[in-house]
């Protein structure tokens, strides 16, 4: 503990109790979100300052304050009556040899309160020196370095309003994973980049103040991805066409199995036309709708004889693979890519651990891929991603879901994300949804979320033993060259227009 006493526990209506300890500040500074330590019968009680209240009896009555106004200080020792009360929530008790225990008994009123020591905070939160350096816990000079497995193995949700720093934080997490050494355990990352926000990872660095991650980054353009036709399973079709009948599914399964068998017998890979030909052999009532579906699938231009690139080439330990979906306009096509890639990768981890490395899928705009409601084509990727969220832990397949509309994100997914990092969110519906789906969040922390500054974050769940506010560290990677301000976009439009006008004039 810091040798300097910060305050003294007071007795009031709310406590001290095992869930609430308030203290008056004797000296020093204190801030909301800080950790304090209180000597306790079984060790040290760690508490988080949830609120700070200044009181002054001389200013309690508005009528007197208004009447006397600035004269108050000329007549009363008002400064002597100003008290700073810190309202804290006990988080746990720990001693040198014991595990962290839940507080079950209050400290006595009059107990001294100290600022928690950095080492104790680290020990209490479970910070790992080899963990991912996400930022700094304010006022304590302690780096927030959650253990990789605790942060990611049971999935992570990053939730924030637009512009609050989701992509920035995601970049920091990616950097940390890419920087890991083999001996610390490296995983593979696959990022579904909906708005081309992360391609800078794959671009060389000209300014040496940035770290170059291009050698560890592979960018796949979503338009170039082709799946082999044997991927068109009944479940794929039913996710694209929710109204497909059981008979239609059975028939297509039979056809695909037959063609796969022929392929193994030496007939080689098959294409959509081959499937269609087989379908045409069915009775008209079954064939016609199936042909219509296959025509639609064909228009997506996603399925060919051979898969490109090979699913085995998607992932590599210590490497980031970005699937750029920015150029794909068709929402359904994006959904299918996310769904099929996720399913295939998870199946590979399930089938045999050695086929592909343990991986983390980073899903931007997750509310579009894993929505709360099952809205037809908008939910094609929901099932495979939900499966990973539910079963991925034991197979080394994890998810990072990123969303600016938590309310629209599947509550099942949110509940399965054992760690959540929340940046500024102001929408009350989103906050309410987070509160309902996050076990570790209390109402005070929820109330603090709307007032977070850009770059301030709250981490809660498996990765830390208590909800912790932190400041996201600065990025080491370069800034995106593909992100423009509204002013830049307007100027670029003007420039293009001028060129067109000049060309037109020259032509005329």
């Amino acid at each position: 503990m810091d040798e300097k006493q910060l305050g003294t526990v007071v007795s009031n209506f709310d406590g001290p109790s095992p869930s609430r300890v308030d203290f008056v500040i004797n000296n020093g500074m204190i801030h909301k979100g800080m950790f304090v330590e209180i000597p306790y019968s079984q060790g040290n009680m760690i508490c988080m300052v949830e609120d700070l209240i200044k009181t002054n009896r001389y200013f309690e009555r508005p009528d007197s304050v208004k009447t006397i106004g600035s004269e108050m200080e000329n007549h009363f020792p008002v400064a002597d009556w100003e008290f700073l009360i810190a309202k804290t929530r006990p988080l746990g008790i720990f001693s040198e040899n014991k595990q962290i225990q839940r507080p079950t008994f209050p400290p006595s009123p009059g107990t001294k309160v100290f600022i928690a020591e950095g080492e104790n905070i680290k020990r209490f939160l479970g910070i790992d020196e080899k963990g991912l350096m996400l930022g700094e816990i304010p006022f304590h000079n302690v780096n927030l370095k959650p253990k990789l497995s605790k942060l990611l193995q049971k999935h992570l949700a990053i939730l924030a309003t637009s512009g609050a720093g989701k992509s920035f934080l995601t970049s920091v997490i990616i950097e940390e994973i890419l920087q890991r050494q083999k001996e610390d355990g490296q995983i593979a990352l696959l990022l579904f980049d909906v708005h081309n926000e992360y391609s800078f990872f794959g671009e060389g660095v000209t300014d040496n103040k940035y770290t170059d991650y291009s050698s560890k980054t592979k960018i796949i353009n979503g338009k170039d991805i082709k799946f082999k036709c044997s991927s068109i399973t009944p479940s794929v079709l039913s996710s694209i066409f929710p109204k497909i009948t059981h008979i239609q599914k059975r028939e297509i399964l039979n056809i695909i199995n037959k063609l796969k068998q022929e392929m193994k017998s030496g007939a080689g890979p098959f294409d959509l036309n081959k499937i269609k030909n087989e379908v045409l052999n069915l009775d008209e009532k079954t064939a016609n709708p199936l042909i219509a579906m296959l025509n639609e699938v064909e228009q997506l231009n996603l399925f060919e004889k051979i898969e490109k690139p090979s699913i085995y080439d998607f992932l590599k330990q210590g490497q980031l693979t970005i699937i750029n979906l920015n150029d794909i306009m068709d929402e359904r096509k994006k959904q299918i890519i996310v769904a099929l890639v996720s399913r295939k990768l998870f199946n590979l981890r399930q089938d045999n651990y050695s086929k592909i490395p343990p991986f983390t899928l980073i899903v931007e705009e997750a509310h579009n891929f894993i929505p709360e409601s099952t809205a037809g084509e908008r939910a094609i990727a929901r099932e495979p991603l939900t499966t990973i969220a539910r079963e991925g832990r034991k197979f080394g397949a994890s998810l990072v879901v990123i969303s600016q509309r938590p309310k629209r994100l599947s509550s099942s997914i949110l509940a399965n994300c054992n760690t959540q990092i929340i940046l500024r969110i102001t929408n009350p519906y989103d906050l309410d949804h987070i509160k309902q789906t996050s076990e570790g969040l209390d109402s005070t922390s929820i109330n603090m979320i709307p007032s977070l500054k850009v770059g301030d974050a709250l981490i809660v769940g498996e990765a830390v033993n208590a909800p912790t506010f932190f400041k996201v560290r600065l990025k080491k990677s370069q800034n995106s060259k593909h992100e423009f301000t509204l002013e830049d976009l307007a100027k670029r439009f003007n420039e293009k227009e001028e060129i067109v006008n000049k060309d037109t004039e020259a032509y005329l």
Partner: protein, 351 residues
């Protein structure tokens, strides 16, 4: 119906009371600054404000008590404050012998009900006056404010055969010691009474202006003065008692003090009642009254609805006790001695 009758009757009485006071006010106000009743001052005069640079002290006490099965506990907390002023502005606040916890006192056994209450008042006064004496000696303030009257009150005086008679007599001695100490240290004692029901000013008016006593039967000084004084005015000073020899408290004083205790009222805010001021002066009484009025006015005229010296507001806040504080002491006693200490009603096992 019963309540309607009561309300009507109460309203009627209060209305009559106001009407009489208003009538007296209308009669007196035009000449209040010309008529004289003590040959030195007019009935009402304007307070002359003089800026001050000095130390002013204030002492107040708070107490709570708890009745147990065979004894009572009393907790007393003294608030003794010294304010330093420069150009009438507070520059420093100091607290004399500040205590975090109140002092617990066990009251005497076997007291009658009236004695119990008197005993509590006496114990409180003892602490208050002792502290005031110590403060004057150690800190030498120019003025010392006492919350309440400058002499013990009737309700503090026990019966002649009371078990607490000695305690009461010690209080009389202590008060006189306080006067002497303040005189020796050039400290002016000022007492202010927050809610006075005094009638002395009314007596003075009746005697000197030959007013109809019956007409003012239910009026008190402060209710009459509500119609006479305006903000920034004070009444003339007058003796504490019309007949000192017969005054139940003052007759126990030495004449040196009993003859030199004076009272006046002043109005320090637009909408609050007049404030009763008591002081001791052996000479230049008018000048002392003016000096005190100036100080009290400047310390009390901060709020339009409430006038009381800021030094005593602070002392009161420092001395304030809550029932929870006595519960802590009480619970510790119960822990050690057991629940038999509690009153039977406190042990009732039902709600």
């Amino acid at each position: 119906m019963q309540y309607t009758n009561f309300m009507n009757q109460a309203f009627e009485e209060i209305n009559q009371h106001y009407t009489k006071n208003e009538t007296l006010g209308k009669y007196l106000v035009p000449s209040k600054s010309k008529l004289s009743i003590n040959e030195i001052e007019t009935i009402v005069s304007k307070i002359k404000i003089v800026k001050f640079d000095c130390d002013i002290a204030g002492v107040d006490s708070g107490f709570v008590s708890k009745r147990l099965s065979f004894l009572d506990i009393l907790l007393i907390k003294i608030g003794a404050v010294i304010f330093s002023y420069n150009d009438s502005k507070l520059t420093k606040a100091e607290y004399f012998k500040p205590t975090l916890f109140p002092e617990p006192i066990l009251l005497k056994n076997g007291l009658e009900n009236d004695e119990e209450e008197q005993s509590k008042g006496i114990e409180r006064l003892k602490k208050e006056i002792t502290t005031s004496i110590e403060l004057i000696i150690e800190k030498k303030p120019k003025y010392l404010f006492i919350d309440g009257s400058i002499i013990p009150q009737y309700q503090n005086k026990p019966r002649s055969d009371s078990k607490i008679k000695d305690d009461y007599e010690s209080i009389i001695d202590l008060f006189q010691k306080l006067y002497k100490t303040s005189e020796e240290n050039n400290c002016t004692l000022i007492s202010t009474v927050e809610d006075s029901r005094g009638n002395r000013f009314k007596e003075v008016l009746i005697d000197s202006l030959k007013l109809n006593e019956e007409q003012l039967k239910f009026a008190s000084d402060s209710s009459i003065l509500d119609y006479i004084l305006i903000n920034g005015e004070r009444t003339c000073f007058f003796n504490y008692s019309k007949n000192i020899e017969k005054h139940s408290i003052l007759k126990e004083y030495t004449k040196d003090w009993s003859n030199n205790i004076y009272v006046f009222y002043l109005k320090a805010s637009n909408y609050d009642k007049a404030l009763r001021i008591e002081f001791i002066a052996k000479k230049d009484i008018k000048e002392k009254a003016n000096e005190i009025a100036s100080i009290v006015y400047q310390l009390s005229s901060l709020h339009k609805d409430y006038s009381y010296p800021s030094i005593l507001i602070e002392a009161d806040m420092r001395a304030r006790l809550t029932n929870e504080e006595i519960e802590i002491v009480f619970n510790k006693l119960i822990d050690k001695i057991g629940p038999k200490l509690n009153l039977r009603r406190g042990n009732r096992p039902f709600k």
